[in-house]
């Protein structure tokens, strides 16, 4: 940008309440979704705040969000904003890979989500749901926050690493995965290499997981004639532009990255969907009728039979509006950008609040009301549960398929009710991925 242009531009308005030492960190940390709604209400489309020393500009409204999604990676970098993932996925993986290698790795990730694999995944997921409900009996009470975390860990490992691995899945694997999860908490986004016991545990877990998954890769390379139909097979077949294959640690990193992208997001959404089904009696009756008609006892759940379930889809979409799994997205400004007469300087972070966007009254009147029939906005950048633009979540079709597979199996068989008072089921906004505050107890009863 030329000096003349820069001189004529405004700077983004600053949000009130900044403290000398920590900026807005305390208010942000306590409830970042609510804080970002305050930023937007006070300052409008652009609002600058201080996140523990990092100047951050919140971009709100569909036009600003479109600019956020469509500005080139070279100017707005995901990699620079998400460095906390590097010690979790491993060196040279995704946000630590050079840009050309990162592109290929993301492409290989999408390859694992293509049609033939998706067919296998839908079968895998419905098998896992069957195994899960097998011991339920006619009625009971469960904490579904816990249940869905376990179910989606099973479906994720089964789809990614195959049946053999899923059947042999050990307590050790769960603990390693859990240690990596803990390595991605909020402080990791300030500095992921601080001297902290959680980060030491994270580093040890990654080394062990690389050995474990590396072992499976070596086993498979030794018996190359077997077809697995899982993501690991696709990752192992992938090549860079020069024809070379990914290293074992890069493949392991892709497995971990895919687990992280899909596990908590799916389990949180499943938990909220079931909770809203128990809460919204009128709509859930319609959804159950639709599913009972489509999946009469014994009719198989497949990719084709799951493709079109309009009432269930509308219900899940409304759950994703009110409870978007990722509350905010970030990029680091690498090169000065101009938006609507305002200069956003290199070195700052830009953010968008999906949670806030989904409560924008211009597009969602009476936003807290659950209404699966509310009209769709006439822009692609107001309703953004999976983000948008060139980097939209590549797993969006997988995620919807998984949700539909779970509820197509559950709802024709069981009815669900809240156990605790309605108002105790709330969004937990302290974590990076949204879920209800736990426990999330529901009672189930077999349909007659």
């Amino acid at each position: 940008m030329s000096q003349n242009v820069v001189a004529s531009l405004k700077l983004p308005p600053k949000v009130s309440g900044e403290k000398p030492s920590s900026g807005h960190m305390d208010e942000f940390g306590a409830n970042f979704a609510r804080f970002m709604m305050r930023c937007n209400a006070e300052c409008g489309e652009l609002a600058e705040f201080n996140m523990g020393g990092q100047q951050t500009v919140l971009m709100s409204g569909p036009e600003a969000q479109e600019a956020f999604f469509k500005t080139l990676d070279l100017k707005l970098s995901r990699a620079a904003a998400y460095q906390a993932t590097v010690p979790v996925f491993g060196k040279g993986v995704i946000f630590d890979a050079p840009p050309d290698k990162m592109k290929v790795q993301l492409k290989i990730q999408v390859d694992a989500l293509r049609y033939q694999n998706m067919k296998n995944y839908s079968t895998v997921i419905s098998q896992e749901v069957e195994d899960w409900v097998a011991s339920w009996g006619d009625e009971g009470e469960l904490d579904f926050l816990d249940e869905f975390l376990r179910l989606t860990l099973h479906t994720a490992t089964h789809c990614l690493l195959g049946k053999d691995f899923r059947d042999r899945m050990t307590e050790e694997f769960r603990e390693l995965y859990h240690a990596l999860e803990k390595g991605l908490q909020a402080i990791a986004f300030v500095d992921p290499y601080m001297q902290q016991p959680v980060f030491e545990a994270r580093d040890k877990a990654l080394v062990r997981l690389q050995a474990l998954i590396g072992g499976i890769i070596a086993e498979r390379r030794a018996s190359s004639h077997i077809e697995y139909g899982d993501a690991l097979e696709t990752f192992m077949a992938g090549t860079y532009t020069d024809g070379s294959q990914l290293t074992e640690n890069e493949i392991t990193g892709l497995v971990i990255a895919t687990m992280f992208a899909g596990h908590h997001t799916s389990s949180g959404t499943a938990t909220w969907t079931l909770t809203e089904l128990a809460r919204q009696k009128e709509y859930s009756a319609e959804v159950s009728e639709e599913l009972q008609a489509l999946f009469k006892s014994g009719s198989e759940i497949t990719l084709e039979s799951l493709r079109e379930i309009p009432k269930l889809e509308a219900f899940i979409e409304e759950v994703l509006r009110l409870h978007p799994p990722l509350v905010l997205l970030m990029r680091r400004v690498i090169e000065d950008i101009e938006y609507n007469g305002t200069l956003i300087e290199a070195g700052k972070t830009v953010a968008i609040s999906i949670y806030g966007s989904h409560r924008n009254t211009d597009y969602f009147p009476d936003p807290e009301k659950f209404d699966p029939y509310r009209p769709k906005p006439d822009t692609l950048f107001a309703y953004i549960p999976f983000g948008g633009g060139p980097h939209k979540c590549a797993g969006n079709a997988f995620a919807m398929m998984q949700m539909k597979a779970i509820f197509a199996a559950l709802l024709p068989r069981y009815e669900f009710e809240l156990v605790d008072p309605d108002e105790t089921y709330q969004d937990d906004l302290s974590a990076i991925v949204l879920k209800p505050t736990g426990p999330c107890r529901l009672r189930y009863t077999k349909r007659k």
């Binding site: 469509k70 492409k107 999408v110 293509r114 633009g389 060139p390």
Partner: protein
Amino acid sequence: MKIKIDLALCQGHSVCLDEAPEVFDVIDQDDGYPQVRVLLDNPPQELREKVMKAAKYCPNNVITVLED
């Protein structure tokens, strides 16, 4: 009917290729995601249903069908 494509959104999921192989192909790129290529800009009416499904089930809303 006419087909409009927003290539910036395409990640090469290939749903369109499964729904309407007469109309869509997906081409590998040297770097980045494979990209859709439209084989028939003005597909005949008998392919309408297939094209509409390709547009509807595209995970990234890449395909827009315009009426003549």
